[in-house]
């Protein structure tokens, strides 16, 4: 599974012309997707499927994450073709940098898959750190811009620091397992299947320390509050297809890392006040992220940063879901977030190319200028803030339902309150962007607001559009097609959760449920 992306990346690097690079990129993306499907589908559909090899490992949970990585990765590769040609025309980049870009994107996909197919916790750490390294280069891709360099520095330093703490946890885990378990060889001391099987023999105090350290480390990578400060910067500065991958699937890799430890802690049966120890930690950080992200969503000025704060919010929701034991809802939410967020980032990329700004106040009347993009964008936004019938609504309700069944009313009300506020934030942002007009310099009279747009106003409006040099028309129909694939997916999943998907997620959620 790792071979196709690595080879594609290298091949892209050695292609001479732009056309060839794009061709290799597209072919490579298809091959990557096909290979991933061939290897992972048996793991998803045969219950109890496990492939172990000391280093490599595959079961339903890892297959689920890998397929998500591969779907979003391939779509981002296709989206990149149009996006990057545009950057080339705008002279933001040149051909050698284009080659670099495709090299890094494919290696990025490879490192993310690497995270999910390993059995050894230390190797997983290596993989997660290597995702940071490759993606930091992508975040700092426009390395002549101040903001972009700053974002990548911040990203790299915060994530490396965080993940160093996780490494300390792994060393303590190693100490724990070598001293308390009977192991075949030193290599299996960090095999999480071994640890999981013999979890009851592990020393609980050391295991708790390990979980806290690893959680703090990987939560940094996941963007949970208070280690989230790198996330909005990195997501807003990276090239848009990369932002989509960062938000849609890279954060999932960190979740995957945490889930493996979560499984071990559950198997060890460590509890505090009736609730699992790891559940408690996850719940705490999750609800904190949700609450802190809310005001930032409401006051956001830059639409890519807005989407980034939404990522923090959704990571919070997923952690709350696992925390209260609504594993089905949380795993389902991972899928939904991974499909919805790239859709919006792709839309944001189109908006950015049209308006050449990321400030929301300068983006007005999208509905008139690019009707199709704005329809997809609006529906995507609605989905993201949890409007029925889209799939995010379903998973949020499932998580909320679990809380209410457990009569966990304080958490439930915090959760619900944040979601309502975020919905309100959405209406203040997306409405004006799509339907609003540029406010003409003289203040709008009361008469005008009550009777709608007057003649005079609409004239000034057209003028201001001309001044901004925004022409009518869609940016690219190919990109719209990519976006609509995702839109259809979330719509269908939201309306009728297919049986096979339901049984897969149910099967995966068993070890995490209370």
């Amino acid at each position: 599974m790792l071979i196709p992306p690595v080879l594609t990346g290298i091949a892209c690097y050695f292609m001479k012309s732009k056309k060839r690079v794009e061709l290799v990129n597209a072919l490579g993306a298809c091959v990557e997707f096909a290979v991933v499907l061939i290897f992972t589908l048996p793991a998803l559909f045969e219950s109890g499927y496990e492939f172990t090899d000391g280093i490599w490992y595959l079961d339903a949970l890892s297959a689920y994450f890998i397929i998500l990585i591969s779907i979003i990765g391939s779509l981002a590769c296709f989206y990149s073709i149009n996006y990057m040609s545009y950057e080339l025309i705008e002279k933001e980049i040149d051909i050698p940098r284009l080659r670099n870009y495709y090299l890094l994107v494919h290696e990025f996909i490879a490192t993310m898959i690497f995270v999910c197919i390993t059995q050894n916790l230390a190797v997983m750490w290596i993989a997660i750190e290597s995702t940071t390294i490759v993606s930091a280069l992508l975040v700092g891709f426009y390395n002549t811009k101040k903001a972009s360099i700053e974002a990548s520095w911040k990203y790299m330093i915060i994530c490396s620091t965080g993940i160093t703490i996780a490494l300390f946890g792994i060393i303590i885990m190693n100490l724990n397992s070598t001293t308390h378990l009977s192991l075949a060889d030193p290599f299996s001391a960090l095999n999480w299947t071994t640890l999981h099987d013999q979890a009851s023999l592990l020393d609980p105090a050391l295991l708790k320390l390990t979980f806290i350290l690893v959680f703090v480390g990987y939560a940094t990578k996941m963007g949970l509050v208070p280690m989230h400060t790198w996330l909005p910067d990195a997501h807003s500065q990276a090239p848009t297809p990369v932002s989509a991958m960062l938000s849609g699937v890279l954060l999932n890799c960190a979740i995957y890392g945490i889930l493996r430890y979560h499984e071990i802690v559950i198997a060890a049966g460590i509890k505090i006040g009736g609730l699992g120890f790891s559940n408690l930690v996850m719940l705490l950080f999750g609800i904190l992220s949700l609450i802190v992200a809310t005001p930032f969503i409401i006051i956001a000025k830059d639409y890519k940063r807005l989407l980034a704060y939404h990522s923090i919010e959704h990571m919070g929701i997923i952690m709350v879901g696992f925390g209260v034991g609504a594993a089905f809802g949380a795993l389902f939410h991972i899928l939904n977030h991974s499909l919805t967020k790239p859709l919006l980032f792709f839309g944001a990329g189109n908006v950015q190319h049209k308006y050449k700004t990321r400030v929301m106040e300068q983006v007005r009347s999208m509905g008139r200028i690019m009707p199709l993009t704005s329809i997809v964008f609006l529906l995507g936004m609605l989905a993201l803030v949890g409007t029925p019938p889209f799939s995010i609504f379903m998973s949020e309700v499932l998580i909320l339902n679990t809380m209410i069944v457990q009569s966990n009313f304080i958490i439930a009300s915090l959760f619900f309150g944040s979601l309502v506020l975020i919905f309100a934030g959405f209406t203040t942002h997306a409405g004006p962007m799509i339907f609003g007009s540029y406010s003409p310099e003289p203040m709008v009279t009361i008469e005008a607001t009550t009777t709608g747009m007057t003649m005079e106003q609409s004239v000034t409006h057209e003028k201001s559009l001309e001044i901004k040099n925004v022409s009518k028309g869609e940016v690219s129909y190919a990109n719209l097609f990519i976006m609509s694939i995702l839109l259809v997916l979330i719509f269908v999943i939201g309306l009728t959760l297919p049986d096979f998907l339901m049984s897969i997620i149910k099967q995966m959620s068993v070890p995490f449920s209370l």
């Binding site: 050894n120 360099i149 300390f168 303590i172 190693n174 100490l175």
Partner: protein, 254 residues
């Protein structure tokens, strides 16, 4: 006296570690040296000297690894091959951390002419010597309070070294975090990260566990790549911002 004589066996070091008390005293002494060097790094002003002290710290760590490896072989906790692996990994680690990483940083220092006018530049860490000592002391105490109770369940073999010194390594990680949080220069964050990485290696050494060589080298390679990229960004920041102070990196404020 017969214990002091076997010079043929391997010199002074072996003689030292043959005495269990002396060996553990040496280990504790080296650990204290490592913590003291961390404090020196905090109060130091110039990146050049910080990196020098960082190299010293790494070498002391390597020495500690050598002492522990030999002790464990003699005490019979490690087999001959395990011990040799342990020491080989230590040597590779020192080569990367003590030579390759500093070389990259020195190259960057030359490139951006960092320490040209030291008087005009503010300190990387605005911590006075007494305060640095007090805060480090508190962090060491905290590390012992948090980690040592957790270690009581370890088998007696590990009680000598691990339970005494593992908290110290955690303390270094904490001090590194404190440095990262308070520094005013961009490269201060880099140094803080390096100190934290050293703390982690310290932990691996004193927990006396044999991590498979492949994993260790993978981790080392990852760290090296991360530092190399950070150094690259450091040069880019210097070129574009004309400053390396953290508080002037404010393109991305809300």
């Amino acid at each position: 006296m017969d214990r002091i004589l076997p010079g043929i066996h391997g010199g002074y070091l072996i003689i030292l570690v043959r005495h269990a008390d002396m060996a553990s005293e040496l280990q504790v002494f080296l650990s204290i040296v490592i913590i003291v060097i961390t404090v020196i790094i905090i109060v130091n002003n110039l990146l050049k000297y910080q990196v020098m002290w960082y190299i010293t710290q790494t070498i002391v760590l390597g020495l500690l690894a050598l002492v522990i490896g030999t002790t464990e072989i003699i005490n019979g906790n490690f087999s001959q091959s395990q011990g040799l692996d342990f020491i080989t990994i230590a040597i590779v680690t020192i080569a990367v951390k003590g030579v390759a990483i500093p070389a990259a940083i020195f190259k960057a220092i030359k490139k951006i002419n960092l320490d040209a006018s030291p008087d005009e530049q503010p300190k990387a860490f605005t911590v006075s010597v007494p305060r640095a000592i007090i805060i480090s002391g508190i962090l060491v105490l905290l590390a012992y309070l948090v980690v040592q109770p957790v270690l009581v369940a370890l088998p007696p073999v590990y009680m000598n070294i691990t339970s005494v010194l593992l908290p110290a390594s955690f303390a270094i990680v904490l001090i590194g975090l404190y440095m990262a949080g308070t520094t005013r220069k961009v490269y201060g964050q880099l140094i803080a990260l390096l100190v934290m990485e050293n703390g982690i290696y310290f932990a691996t050494v004193v927990s006396c566990i044999e991590i498979p060589a492949m994993i260790d080298i993978g981790i080392l390679f990852d760290i090296f790549a991360a530092i190399a990229i950070l150094v690259m960004f450091l040069v880019a920041i210097n070129k574009n911002f004309e400053t390396i102070q953290v508080n002037r990196l404010n393109e991305l404020k809300e």
